[in-house]
Structure formats: C-alpha cells, structure tokens
Symmetry: C4
C-alpha cells in the first residue's frame, strides 16, 4: 500500500494545485490569479502532499528521485516499475478530477472545443508544452539543468550530515524549491521536472477529448519531459555526491555515518 | 466560554481578513491589492485566529471539522449545536464589523446602492456566489472536492503519528492550506469551505440592506456552501482514516497509540 | 541605551521597508513593485528590526504597546516619555534616510515639486493620508478597529500560557501580522497603527519641503493616526485580558503562573 | 575545496534564480512573472545555495562578508583573495549557464542582437545598471546604505548572543533579507550588494557578445557596485558591533562568551 500512497500523493499533488491553480488562472483569463499563483499552487500542492504521506515510510515524490536512489544503491531496483506505475496512475486520476471540477469553466472558456494551441487552448492546464521560441535542444538543456538543480537541492535537504532541519520544515522547503523552479526556470516549457506528472495527465487529455494533438504538439515534444528529467536528476544527484558528500567523507565525524548506510532504505520516506 | 471563543474566532477570522481583504480590493477597484492579497487575507486571518484561540482547549475552526469529529466519535454530539451557533453568530458579527469599517468605501464604490450582482456589486465581499459559468452540479462537485481535500489535510496536520510538527507551525500550515484552496479552487465559487462563514455573513447582508437577493442569487445558491462542505468534509476525513490511519494501525509502534484513543477529546483543541 | 535601540529600531524599520518599499513603487510608477510589495516591505522591516534588537531587553516595537503595558501595570510609567521620544526621533531619521536614498528618484518623479496630493504626490511615501472616500468618523473607526486587532494579536503571540512559539518564529509572526493589516485594512488610510511611525516622518516632510500641507491635508488628518491607535491598542489589550487571560486564570495549571507575574517587566523585551 | 564550494554556491545562486528569474520575466515580456517573482528568485536562490553548502565549514555568501570578518579579525586575510576569486569564477559560470538555458528565449526576444540599453536590452538579466534618474552620488549612497543594512542584519542573524534561531531557519531568513532589499531598495540600481555577483556576470556578458558597452553604460557605472558594497558592508558591521555587541559585553552572562572568541573562525561557516 505504499504504492497506493504514491499514487494518492501524485493524485492529490496534481489535483490540488499543480493543475487546479493553472485551470483557475487560465479559465478565469487572469481575473482569479496570475503566474505567481500558479507557481504557489504547484509548490503548496507538494507541501501538503508530503505532509499527508510523510508518516508512511517509502513514499517518494518523483520517479526521478526513485531512480536516483536506485542508481546510488539506496533503493531496490525491483520496486521501481510499480512505483513509477503508481505515480502515473495517480497523476492520470488527478488530471481527471481537475477536469471534473473545472468542467463548466473549461467549457465556457473554450466554447466547448478542447484545444492544444491558440488563445483558447486548455491542454496546458494539465501538462507541459514548449514555448514558441524553444528549440528541441533548448528544451533538453532547460530540463536537464532544471532537474539537476532540483534533485541536487532535494538530496541536500535530506542529507542529515549537511545540517539538521526542524521536523516539519522539510516539506515546506521542498515546496519552496518547486516555487524556485517556477519563478526562475518556468518560461521555456513550464518546468515539468516529474515524468509521471507530465505523462499521466497527457494520457488523460489524449483520452478525454484533446486527441492525438497532445502528442504531436511542439514537434513531438511529449518525450522530452520524460527523458530529460532522468538525465538531469542523475546529474544533480551525482554532483551532490561528488561535491558535498565526498567532502563529508574526508572529514568523518561520528560512527553514525556507517550506521546510516545500513538503514538508508527505510529512511527515505518521501 | 469555549463557545465564546469559537464565536470570537470566526468573528476575528472573518473580520480581520476574509472579508476585509476582499472589501479592500473590491472597493479600491484593485489599486490596493489583487486576487492574491484576498487569498493571503483569508489565510492570515485563520493563522492569527488560531494563534489567539489555541491556548483554550476545544476551540474549533469550522463546523464541518466539529461534525467530522462527532462522526468519528471523538467529540460529543450534544456540543455540536451550540458550537455551530457560536460560529454563526461570530461570522455575523464579523461581517457587521467589516461593513462598519468599510462603510464609507462601500458607499463611495457602489454609489450608495447595495447590490448583489453587476460591476458595482458588493455582496461578494461577505459571502460566496457562483461564477456565471458554474452549473448547479458543478458547484456541488467543486465544494465536495475542495472540502474533502481541505479536511483531509487538516486531519493529517493534526495526526501526531503521521509526523510531529514544531509547536507554532501548525497554525501557519492551516493558513497555507487555506491559501492553497484559494489559488487552486477559488474561481468557481470562491471556496467557502465553512458553512458558518458563508451563512452568517449572508444573513448579515440580508438584514443590512442587500435584501432577499442574497438568497435568490445564482438560482438559490445559498444552501450549496452549507450542505456540500459537510459531505466533502466527511469524505475527506474518512479517506484519511482509510488511507493513512489504517496504515498506522497495521504497523503499531508504541503504547502511546492506545492512550491517545482515551484522551482524544481534550486533544482536539482547535 | 535601550532608548537608543528603540530609536534605531524604528529608524531601521522605517528606512528599510516601510517607506523604502513605498518610495520604490511610487517613484517607479509601479514598474518595480506593487501594493503587495509595499506591504511585504512593511512586514519584513518589522521582522528584521526585531531580529536586530531582540537580544536587548526592553526594546519595544510601538508606543501603543508601551502604553498598554503601562496601563496593565507591567511597565513603569516614567519610562514612557523617553521611549516615545526615541521612537519619534528614530522615525524622523529613518524618513530622512529614505529621502536621501530616493532623492534622485523623487526629484525625477515629481519634477522637483514636493507635493502632498495629486498624481505626482510623494508625501504618501512617508506617512498616512486618508483616502478620498474616508470620513472623519470612518477614519477613527478604521484605526481603532485595526489597532485593537493588531495589539490583541501581538499580546496573544507573547502569551507563553497560550502556547509556546519556537524561538525565532515570533519576529516572523509579527511581520506576518503587519502584512495581514496591510492586505485587509490598508485601503482606508494606509494602516498607520504606530503613532511614532506616522508623526516622525510627517515632521520630517514638514521640515524637508512638503510644508504645512502635511498637517492640513485630509481636513487636519494628522492627529487621527496618533490618537486612534492608543484607543484601539488599549481596547485590544483589554479584550485579550478578558477573553483569554481570564480563561487561563480560571484553569490554573502550574506554579509557573504566579512566578510570571513577578518578573513580567523584564520579560517584555520588545 | 572550500573555494570550490564558494564557487559553486555563487554559480548556483546566480544560475538558479538571481538571473534565471530575471531572464524569465524579461524574455517573456512579463507573461511569466513580474518584479516580485524576480525578487523571490534572488531570495530563494540564496536560500537553497546556503542549504546546499551549509554543511561545509567556511563557505561564505559574499566577498563583502568575508572582508568584514577579516577587518574584525575573525577571518585570515590571506584567504581573502582566493575566496573572492572563487566567487567571481562561480558567478561567471552561473551567468554562462543562464545564457545557455535561456539562449533561445534571448535570441527570440532581442531579435538576435545583444543590447545593453533600450526596450530589447538583455544585459540587465545578468548584472546591475543604474536607472535613468540615478546620479553618480545617488548610486553610491544607495549602495552604501543598502549594503550597510544588509550586513548589519546578516551579522545580527548569526549572533547567537542576540537570541538563538532554530536550525534551518537561518538560510530562510537570509533569503527573506534579500527579498527585503529587493522590495525596498531595488529600483535605483537593482540592489547588487555583492561585488562578485555583479562583476562576474558583467565579464561574461562582455565576452559573450554584449561588448564593451557593459562597462561604458551608465557613465562607467560598473565599479560602483564593486566599491560601494565594501564601504557599506564595513559600515553595517561596525554599527552592529557598536550598537548591539557592545551592549552584550557590558552585560556578560556566561563563560560561553569567552569561549566563543576563541573558536570564532570555525563557526563562521557561510
């Protein structure tokens, strides 16, 4: 049932804010929020998603994070597929709930047509599309850089050796980190960062009436926010290992360190 | 006198921000704030309402929360009517104070006419009205979903087993949760969430000169923000019980758990 | 030298943000901020003013707070005049520094004329003026209500019996409280709340070239933000005493309570 | 390798937000953020830069801070040149990464021309330029005042005698301080505050195609944000020593105080 929680987490994260905040701003044509409130939504969605799920060991925020832990040998590879599937299903169901909640608003806004591009487009409520100026390589670079920094900071926040955090501050800081991404790396392609959170809702919009255009748009953009975050995530995690972790290891301070390597799996409850 | 505190809490919560922030933005026609400052107002009103009342055991934020505790057997049913009445009276008095404080501004803004709809409408300062696009069922769905998530998160934040919170962070997080609702679920009908906070001020506007239109508007909308939050609140509370609490109980960790079930009532001091 | 600190506190509080943030938004005609950033400025100015001064016992934020403590018998009356004078001088010097820092900007904005009213007015950077719609009685009510709530919350945040706060959160919450005032009670007359912070800068603008219009404007408005906050402050403090403190005393829990009444004076270090 | 961390810190600080947030708002012509999101970016960049580096003793945020510690005898002078060089290189590389990430956006925005002034200017993404209204002396005053307040608050936040902070709150407060600067002292010349963060990116833009105009603009403005922060920083640090530290020393409370003077150097890990 950790899988259920992972599923539920993304369901809620997505539903609550990531997409709800975007739906609100887009369908109200900016009268009920602006770019900042959308980012606050994404951030606060993560905060409360983590607060709800944090008590249950093993819940992860992001498949990229799960993969990084597997690569570092801190999480069993065999669990990865089911984790990722839970994320995907949760994100799909979350998108469906947002559509349900904003059904009237989306219909009124778009005149009943579910479009991927143009002034009445609503597909951007659910998943990422590149800005007109963005080239293929530009999108890859953007996502690799953004996810690298995102994961590097995530790992740093969890590194007890790097300085303790008061219990309860961690979820808030993860939210602040997502806000950071939104205000500084959001204009190229909307900082997907999370493959499940991008693909799940894209599948939903494909099924729900936006059609195959959701995969064709941006010159077949859909796979970039799936592949690039994994590359960036590994890069960020390894950078932290080399830059900071390695530094810790050259100055060992307590036997607690060895201990930690034994129990790492149970401790990664996000 | 816990009733008095409940009354006072909503009085303050409403007066301070929920309605004050809306009055400020509406009557200044957006020169002294925007959609985000209204949401910040609602959130910060709750924060300081809780900080003022938190020392006194038994103060509840919301009749929906009280009802959920009754259903779960953690709060005596006999206290529910008086609690709800206190909430209602507090919200009514809070609305009256906001009207007093913004009397000149409302008169100047509306040209002396107290209207429920149109560009010079001021009834929306005090309680919720549906957006033009919202259908009857859409409003019900919106409020059930929003209150379910709201209560689920409220219960999670209070669940000590789910991870402790530093003292003093809890009220801040409840405020952040209200902000979350405002930025992601506010454009359909203004996220009432709280039946007392919606009905009390509506009664005030009925009495104070807006007239029976406050009940007729939106096709008789007034009862939706009373009924739907109770349905959503129960749904959210039960979801948490099933999803997380149940998970805790399958992995008991300490005798503290049994203890908690005995003293639950005294511990719910919000 | 506590007086010096009080002086310095208001100097900094004013200079840093209260007026600097307003100067920035007004002279940039909204390109470098908006209503929200002005309120954030006021709030953050208080936060860092308190963080700088908090280590030194006896520093107070506001003459209204000092007076309330005197009335409650928790602060010696004889200290009140010098405290208030320090506040006044600090606020005067703070205003002078803001004028120095924004001298070029104010000259460019106003074409060299220092005006109190009209589209190129700059006096509002430094102290409060009523909105056009505000009547005399409306202004009194607004300030009494606002300061009552402000002081009530200030006293609640300091009441250890009402629930402890993590060290370091208190200054942040006072800032949040000022933000609250700004977003929900700022459009009538700019929430002065603090007589010294209003009169000191007004005296500076009188001397610096805005002339006697700073006292004549708004039908002789200048004394309202001096008198009304004292009335509201006492009202708020007494409300808390009656509503919450009294409740604590009917349910004594520990001998710590009697102790506290002896050492109250040294403990009020703000 | 503390140098490496200093380098990396500024790289990240700059790349993540300081410049990324500005690039986003400028190249999207305000559709993906506003003045406030740029300031949030600067603030959050510092927050996460500190969280990543805080575990490693000796990492400093700002050459001005390093110099102040040297002057106060708390940091060896011989380390200053390499520290400053690391900062400079980090900021240069950070600017390069932002340019890489926003290459497509900058090209589309500016039509391929890299300009320092005018409506399509992009140089302001990377370093500070004075507003049109700002005189030479006005710029000096602005930067001396701003950096003095900045350093004064930084030193106060680190002064354990002035009141403890919960672990984990310190980086957040430094971020809030940077936000404070941005909302109240940002419109004259963009609050550089940090010589390395201004000169490094300026050198990058010089090399990358903006040309020598980056040094000629504003009447040879470039050296003001290098010299003035050092003057202001020393002023702020000394003010704190005189005003608060001196006050502590006249009221010694514990033997911990003497101890602290011995180990000061190892404790200044920022």
């Amino acid at each position: 049932n950790t899988h259920l929680l992972n599923l539920f987490f993304l369901f809620m994260h997505l539903q609550l804010i990531g997409s709800g905040a975007a739906a609100q701003v887009i369908t109200s044509r900016g009268t009920h929020g602006n770019y900042l409130t959308i980012q606050l939504g994404s951030a606060l969605g993560a905060v409360f998603g983590i607060f709800v799920a944090r008590g249950v060991s093993g819940a992860h925020l992001n498949p990229v994070y799960s993969l990084s832990l597997c690569v570092l040998g801190r999480h069993p590879w065999r669990k990865l597929p089911l984790y990722s599937l839970s994320h995907l299903v949760g994100a799909f169901l979350g998108a469906a709930t947002v559509y349900l909640q904003y059904y009237d608003a989306i219909q009124a806004f778009s005149g009943g047509e579910l479009l991927v591009a143009g002034p009445n487009a609503t597909a951007g409520i659910f998943c990422s599309y590149p800005a007109d100026h963005l080239s293929f390589w530009g999108g890859l670079v953007d996502q690799v850089v953004a996810t690298a920094l995102f994961l590097l900071c995530c790992v740093a926040l969890e590194d007890q050796q790097n300085g303790p955090l008061p219990d309860g501050l961690h979820p808030v800081l993860v939210g602040a980190l997502i806000l950071t991404m939104g205000v500084s790396m959001g204009s190229n392609c909307g900082f997907p960062l999370n493959p499940a959170r991008d693909l799940g809702p894209r599948l939903f919009t494909f099924v729900a009436g936006w059609g195959e255009e959701v995969f064709k748009a941006g010159g077949g953009w859909w796979w970039v926010p799936i592949v690039a975050p994994f590359v960036g995530g590994l890069l960020g995690t390894l950078t932290y290992e080399v830059l900071i972790e390695a530094h810790h290891q050259t100055t060992p301070q307590s036997p607690q360190q060895e201990l930690e390597e034994v129990v790492v799996d149970s401790g990664n409850n996000r």
